[in-house]
């Protein structure tokens, strides 16, 4: 009995000793990658690989595109953008970063044989030309205004190292130019990183960072309360209070670029009638749901798909005010004075409080005579049906569309050649193509603002909320803010 007890005490003491080293930051992640391979098509992977690697461009916490390995870029002609690379940057293995590495990475990503998950983002690229070691030209088939946005997700790999060790080697020990270097990767458990002393933007204040996998929300918050972690991601709304009531902790919430919407099947009654769709928009008190269910985090979408932090958001378009009397009147005019029955399909736990929001909407629609049942679907089946031509998700389905900060990425789901909604509008499609085919920012903005107006007038979906992401953070930590894209930026973070 005494031997295991001694062992227990020793290991408890060891844990205490470890936590005494103040410059190690521990982070509790809700989603943890099963591999460190660069280019997997998830933000989960990007969140981890971004600690070790850089892109030509990067996003800041608000989602704005900023220079990274490219100091600046300029449009040379309609289909060519020239990137000027940062000088004196070194990879973790000591080799110097140059245009060769950029060309290698992009060619590798674009090669269908490499199965690079993020390839879809940059598929418009036709050629990558090295002008000199510090300059590179990227040529696209057509004008490609979102190139700098897309490049923020492509992490530059060292050519010599990658060719020597192959994909398998890069997966086991990714080498990049980023602020932290890999020390140890324990699958399913943790990733240990140490500061890169030669980081081009200055050595990070933290000596080391541990990213831990803690999938269960209640346990994640407990680890923060117990002081085992200093940052946890994805604090669920019901646990916000527990963090806020602790004087050593704070809640840091930021709006993502995800717009949560209810999309109607406009091919069948009653939603083929635009007046019915407008009536429903009046019947739901979105401000109340924001306040009560989302505890005031996030935002109400202003009668349009795009969140307020997205390029192309139209500030002149406003959400319809809650007005159940008007909703009933419109329903009566549309021929449904006694309402009707319908169903909302949704995934569970995909977006913050998704099922709760669907239930609240259902209750409010019930008040104007519409009986709604909620159909919670398993994500695999939901996504399969969403992608199939029949789009078998019933009369209404709930989904969140990412914009990555630019209207192009979200608006595409409402165009005619996409199958995510049966609604289609010729003017909308024309504007979408026009905006995609020019590098003129003002012209793009004007096109998107007009598209926002069309969506607002036609209501192919009920536009609900800009979804927040909520972090729990120790007050000992400074220089860290919640990132809108859920990719942690830690090189200025400091523990006091």
């Amino acid at each position: 009995m005494s031997v295991p007890l001694k062992g227990l005490l020793a290991s408890v003491a060891m844990v205490w000793a470890l936590s005494a080293q103040a410059e190690t930051l521990s982070i509790g992640l809700a989603s943890f990658p099963e591999s460190l391979q660069p280019g997997l098509s998830t933000n989960v992977s990007l969140n981890v690989n971004r600690q070790m690697m850089d892109g030509l461009t990067a996003r800041d916490n608000a989602g704005k595109i900023v220079p990274n390995l490219a100091e600046k870029w300029e449009v040379i002609n309609e289909t060519t953008v020239r990137f000027h690379l940062r000088e004196g940057v070194k990879f973790h293995d000591g080799s110097a970063f140059s245009a060769e590495d950029v060309k290698y990475t992009l060619d590798h990503a674009l090669d269908p044989k490499s199965g690079y998950g993020m390839a879809g983002r940059i598929s418009a690229i036709t050629e990558v030309k090295i002008v000199d070691p510090k300059t590179i030209d990227i040529v696209t088939a057509k004008p490609f205004p979102t190139l700098p946005v897309a490049l923020a997700d492509i992490l530059i790999e060292p050519k010599l190292y990658a060719e020597k060790v192959g994909v398998d080697g890069q997966r086991r020990k990714p080498v990049g130019t980023g602020p932290f270097e890999l020390v140890r990767y324990v699958p399913g458990d943790r990733i240990e990183l140490k500061a890169n002393p030669n980081y081009f933007a200055g050595k990070p204040s933290l000596d080391s960072v541990t990213l831990r996998s803690i999938p269960e929300a209640a346990t994640r918050i407990s680890s923060l309360l117990a002081g085992e972690t200093q940052i946890v991601e994805e604090v669920s709304v019901d646990l916000v209070q527990q963090v806020e009531s602790n004087s050593a902790l704070k809640v840091d919430s930021v709006n993502t670029s995800v717009g949560l919407v209810l999309t109607y099947d406009v091919t069948k009654p009653p939603f083929d009638n635009p007046r019915v769709r407008e009536a429903l928009d009046y019947a739901v008190d979105k401000e109340l749901i924001l306040k009560e269910i989302l505890k005031g985090k996030g935002e109400v979408l202003q009668g349009q798909l795009l969140t307020s932090n997205t390029f192309g958001n139209n500030p002149a378009v406003k959400a319809r005010a809650f007005d159940p009397a008007k909703a009933k009147k419109l329903l009566a005019e549309a021929g449904y004075p006694n309402g009707f029955s319908t169903a909302i399909s949704t995934m569970s736990g995909r977006y913050l409080s998704d099922v709760d929001i669907a239930n609240a909407v259902s209750g409010m629609l019930n008040d104007v005579g519409i009986k709604v049942s909620i159909n919670v679907m398993e994500p695999g089946i939901f996504l399969k049906n969403l992608g199939s031509p029949a789009r078998d998700l019933g009369p209404v389905y709930m989904i969140g569309w990412y914009s990555f900060g630019d209207a192009d990425f979200a608006m595409t789901w409402y165009t005619g050649n996409n199958r995510r909604t049966a609604w289609s509008n010729a003017e909308f499609d024309k504007l979408f193509l026009a905006a995609r085919s020019t590098n003129d920012t003002a012209a793009r903005k004007a096109a998107y603002e007009r598209m926002d107006e069309i969506l607002h007038a036609e209501n192919p979906s009920m536009f609900l909320f800009g979804v927040p992401t909520i972090y729990g953070v120790s007050k000992k930590l400074s220089g860290f803010n919640a990132p809108a894209d859920r990719v942690l930026r830690l090189n200025r973070a400091k523990l006091n």
Binding site: V12, E34, G115, G120, G188, S213, I214, S222, E228, Y402
Partner: protein, 305 residues
């Protein structure tokens, strides 16, 4: 003995084949890897490449045949999510799950037998009532709730143990206890019944009449004769224990197979799911075999039957 082993193991390949087929078809039929794995902005070339790689354009039975051929060669395929060989991912986690299950089992056996013996000795008295009450309570408490309560008490209130993760010995205490809580009540009740029954047997009465101290009567004469039902029960519960580890591993962020399987099922990562299920099947069959061998060593009647 060899004949006995052969009789026990000859159906293993058939069960594995069935499990493989059911898992493969259910996962393939309910989700298309193209929709799950490829970015929303995927290109037709990407779709084509993945379709070719997974033979998605073939009928399901052909897809299964191709997959089975690879599995027979020991190749479970690459994890769809992460491009790593599926078997490697699973084997990386196997040790963690076995460690957790073994410690939980040890805890359950020790605490269960001790509790059951005490309850039997103090039959119908306060200790018996309290232990039996706790046993019923423990059995009806969902493990995710118990796990979170234990974290609240031992990690937050008392600060004795870490909340989650893997590390020293202290990390395994709470998850193992949560998992064991599932079995302890059964062990208590079985031991209690066994001890009460055995205590009335003639050889125990004789031992007591000879003046052997009560503790020795219990340890040498009573308990060994109640081990048989406990061991058989243990064999039956192994599958449940591994099932229970799925929830426990998720609560305590324990990097085992159970948690890996849950996320892989949601992602329709068939190679990983199948590799994990096969390994678990083999583990459960082998563990049951071990229990049977142990039983037959304890009780010659079983060997001869």
């Amino acid at each position: 003995m060899l004949g006995y082993l052969w009789r026990r193991l000859r159906y293993l390949p058939v069960s594995l084949l069935l499990v493989l087929f059911v898992t493969f078809s259910v996962l393939r039929l309910t989700g298309n890897p193209v929709d799950i794995y490829l970015d929303m902005n995927r290109t037709p070339e990407q779709v084509e490449a993945l379709t070719q790689k997974l033979h998605l354009d073939q009928p399901l039975i052909v897809q299964f045949g191709i997959y089975l051929r690879d599995v027979l060669k020991g190749d479970f395929g690459e994890s769809l999510q992460f491009g790593v060989p599926a078997l490697e991912v699973v084997l990386d986690r196997l040790g963690n799950t076995l460690e957790l299950v073994a410690v939980a089992l040890g805890l359950a056996v020790i605490l269960g037998i001790a509790g059951g013996a005490v309850a039997a000795l103090r039959r119908d008295r306060l200790a018996d009532i309290v232990i039996s009450f706790l046993a019923v309570l423990g059995q009806s408490m969902p493990s995710f709730w118990l796990g979170i309560l234990l974290i609240q008490l031992f990690a937050l209130r008392l600060g004795w143990l870490p909340t989650s993760g893997q590390g020293g010995l202290s990390h395994i205490v709470l998850p193992a206890l949560t998992l064991a809580a599932y079995l302890i009540p059964n062990f208590i009740l079985i031991t209690r019944t066994g001890v009460i029954e055995t205590s009335n047997e003639q050889f125990v009465v004789t031992a007591r009449a000879k003046g052997i101290p009560p503790a020795r009567v219990m340890l040498v004469h009573v308990l060994p004769n109640t081990l048989n039902p406990i061991l058989s029960f243990l064999g039956l519960q192994l599958g449940k224990l591994i099932g229970g580890s799925i929830i426990t591993e998720s609560i305590f962020a324990w990097p085992g197979i159970g948690r890996l399987m849950v996320s892989s099922i949601f992602q329709r990562d068939i190679p990983v799911v199948i590799a994990a299920i096969c390994i678990m099947c083999v583990a459960i069959v082998l563990a049951n075999l071990l229990v049977d061998v142990a039983l037959s060593m304890l009780d010659p009647r079983i060997r001869e039957a």
